[in-house]
Amino acid sequence: MMSIEVTIENILYFGAISLSLIGLFGMMMLQNVFRILLSLVLLEAGANLLLVLSGVRIGGVAPIITEGMSAGVVMNDPVPQALVLTAIVIGVGIQALALALIFRVKRNYGTLDLRKIREKLEKDIAVSNEVSAPGSYQAPEKLTESTGANQ
């Protein structure tokens, strides 16, 4: 049985992993597209925190050389910090791109619910292929009802 000390690093690792898992949970379980985007932001933040924590050293200072600094001082690892610096900026680009896609989804389908979008998408595909609407293996009764009402 491993004993776990309560130190600052352990608390921070716990927070980072929990944040990533909360984001992953949201991305897999929720049905609203906008909320899935928010979960993606959380997942990204947790991964970034985990990456920065891997470069922290005990008693380290920021990797910036200042004037009164003695020679033997320990510095944090600059490489993960530079990686995360890049990742955060790319993350906001991904966020804006996903938001633009969500705008288009809203304009075309009129809803943000993932199940309704999937239903309408399958119907569109069936109409464009000139076959009857397929029954989904997940909810056959509901789907046939909705398509029957429209015909």
């Binding site: 690792y13 898992l21 490489v79 530079a82 890049t86 906001v92 304009r107």
Partner: protein, 237 residues
């Protein structure tokens, strides 16, 4: 059924992550590349901020790739939203002027904030090699400074998209030009040029401040264009 599978996957992943982190050497990792960079960055690059020297000198090509990814994201957003953006600008022009009286306090405080945002942004960009900060953070400040007024009052912006495109292209071109000049004179792409200067002063670390200025202008122009695009009319169903 899918729900239970997802829950099982998340539970397994959390178990795996916690066990892996339990066996990691927390806060004492060997930092193979980091130690070498920390030892030689002051002599080789001459920038006080070692993260800056990693971003622009040791991994400068990655920064170029990142800028191109950001450019691709901004242009795809423009491609997806471009039509509605260009049509409603004329329509909202009149209502924007009428709205100006309603939002007096916010608009005046934004006018007061505008020079402060510019000064802070340029300070962050120019001092990127001495203090924390740099092109990305200062670029965000510049983008917010130029697009905030049109976000608060959608009819009042002049929509000079042309100058934004020009600044963006110019900054990207100058970034690559500095890299190619280094390739010609020194044999390595994006090698810092112009001598190291006095350590810790504003004109030090060779071409790193110029590179960060280019990055800041490019990021600022791209994000400002992105905000203009996203600030369109409400989606009608």
């Amino acid at each position: 059924m899918t729900k239970y599978t997802s829950l099982l996957f998340i539970a397994g992943l959390s178990f795996l992550l916690f066990v892996i982190v339990g066996y990691l050497p927390i806060a004492e990792n060997p930092m193979v590349a980091g130690k070498a960079i920390l030892g030689s960055a002051q002599q080789e690059v001459g920038s006080a901020n070692i993260v800056t020297s990693v971003v622009l000198a040791y991994r400068g090509l990655d920064t170029l790739g990142e800028l191109s990814i950001l450019f691709a994201a901004a242009s795809v957003v423009g491609l997806l939203l471009g039509k509605s953006y260009s049509t409603d600008s004329v329509k909202t022009q009149k209502s924007g002027q009428a709205k100006e009286y309603k939002q007096f306090v916010v608009l005046k405080s934004l006018d007061l904030l505008f020079p402060m945002l510019l000064v802070v942004g340029m300070y962050i960009i120019v001092h990127g090699h001495l203090t924390p900060g740099g092109g990305f953070q200062g670029g965000v400040l510049l983008a917010v400074a130029f697009s905030m007024r049109s976000i608060v009052n959608p009819g009042s912006d002049k929509k000079n998209h042309y100058s934004i495109t020009f600044i963006e292209g110019f900054a990207g071109f100058s970034f690559i030009l500095i890299g190619v000049l280094a390739l010609i004179t020194d044999g390595n792409f994006l090698q810092p040029l112009l001598g190291k200067g006095e350590f810790g002063s504003l004109w030090s670390a060779g071409t790193l401040p110029l590179l960060y200025l280019a990055v800041g202008l490019k990021v600022g122009a791209e994000l400002a264009g992105l905000l203009f695009e996203l600030n369109g009319e409400e989606e009608r169903v």
